[in-house]
Amino acid sequence: MNFIERYLAKAAGLDSVQPGQDIRCKVDLTMAHDVTAPMAVEQFEQIGVSRVFDRNKIVFVIDHIFPAATVQARNAYWKMKDFAAKYGIVFYEKGEGVCHQLLAERHRLQPGQILIGADSHTCTAGAYGAIGIGVGSTELAAAMATGTIDLEVPEVMQIYVTGKPAAFVCGKDVILTLIKRFGTDGLTDKAVVFTGPGIQTLSDEDRMTICNMGIEAGAMIACFGGSELEAEVAETVPLALETLVPVVACPHSPANVKPASELEDIAVTQVVVGSCTNGRLGDFKRVVDVLKFHKVHPDVNLLLIPASKTILGEMEKLGWCEILRNAGAVITNPGCGPCFGAHQGLAAERDTVLSTTNRNFLGRMGHRNAKIYLASPATAAETAVRGVITAPGTLPAGGKEA
């Protein structure tokens, strides 16, 4: 068995499992947010049980539309508030941050833990070796009642990582390069695991970015393992980090990936750095490193959306917020921001957005004709200064652009 199979077998109380097998696993944590929880609450009530399986293992988060941008969003809050009060579950309701970030910060994710989330990016937890699986509201409601989930054991695709990335290559470039290779459905129903000596050069933050976007290739699970090669997997693909370059996913697919250096004449009107993909301290460090010396281009909105209140607090302590604001950036409250097109910076027909978020589908951030490019925070920072897509490392550090 490979380590995914070992984790799943343990959660199912079995000695061994094999790909394709139907198993019933115990779940260690469940999560839903303000878009998916209201329907999960309705479905839970349909089941008709009087209690949840474990109130400490159910987490509700208000992150997608906070503060409420519509009356409907506020009603979602009330539905979750009532449920949280009735069953005594964990409820983050004051803009503490994006669900996947809060799970990592406040719920000590462990290797082998089974985490079920009513959000497709629940796979982010794989950065810590946890098995994060995205589900719909009904499946979440069932798990809240029973504490179990039925799964089919996935085939494992191993990415064997070696080497070290160049200075301006980020976790985002790693995963975009892989999505280009596999396509948006190349890993459907599979678990993708990252092993090899090269993973030691990737920070927890990089690992979260990488696992987060596993779903963009269709993966059921994305998870980091150890430095050793796992033997019993369906397929292994080698990845040499030193061969990677900064890349950008062009409209309208995360798999439409090109080197940033080939896109340099494309003008942008908005740059977004944030989300569960790239809204962490190391991501904003990339932006600060540039905005210490350069101002945001007059034709660009630079929106910075910290993934959590803790991260924003650190940014304040380090004096970054002042530097970023003085250079022309706007820092919003922690949350999902404009990532899925609900509020706080929607794009109109004429806009071209470069964003560190995870999806550039047609209409994702507003109007269908708005163009969305996805890239790393390093690429986003220099793009915001020059007003055109820019490969990171182009601007001189410590001085003004000539």
Partner: protein, 163 residues
């Protein structure tokens, strides 16, 4: 229950959840969702024309995109009895089964036209056409059990002995 018969509607590859149920319909009450079924697709007036038991036929990666469960809910509410596709995005497939909408994985490209009456056996995965039989992937025992119960909520109620 495991043999379904209906009229086919043929779509292409990568029909995403925005085509199945556009984002703007997410603000609607559940009862209104069927009116928007496939509104973002190549057949925008699908909801007005679909009949009870009709079958959607598609290529690869049906249901990709967001995890919105409202997408299969809209199809089921509109009367769709089965979706057959070359492949499904995982979360869509699970959502559909969990709300009691059967889905079958099969390659049908070039074999079925919109309007054809076809028959599908969920247990064997066979799709019976006028002059051919296609072989799809049979549903797992676990999936069949959920479909037979009419969805996951009913199944959980049975298993927990709630009534």
């Amino acid at each position: 229950m495991s043999i379904l018969r209906g009229r086919a509607w043929v779509f292409g590859n990568n029909v995403d959840t925005d085509q199945i149920l556009p984002g703007y319909a997410m603000a609607e009450e559940v009862a209104n969702l069927p009116k928007f079924a496939m509104a973002g697709s190549s057949v925008p007036d699908f909801a007005a024309k679909v009949q009870e038991g009709d079958i959607i036929i598609a290529g690869k990666n049906f249901g990709c995109g967001s995890s919105r469960e409202q997408a299969p809910v809209a199809l089921k509410g509109a009367g769709v009895g089965l979706v057959i596709a070359g492949s499904f995005a995982r979360i869509f497939r699970r959502n559909a089964i969990n709300i009691g909408l059967p889905v079958l994985v099969a390659e049908t490209a070039g074999h079925i036209q919109s309007g054809d009456i076809i028959e599908a056996n969920l247990e064997t995965g066979e799709i019976i056409l006028k002059d051919a039989v296609l072989k799809g992937k049979p549903l797992s025992a676990n999936t069949l059990e959920t479909i037979r119960a009419g969805g996951l909520i009913n199944r959980v109620r049975q298993e927990l002995g709630v009534n």
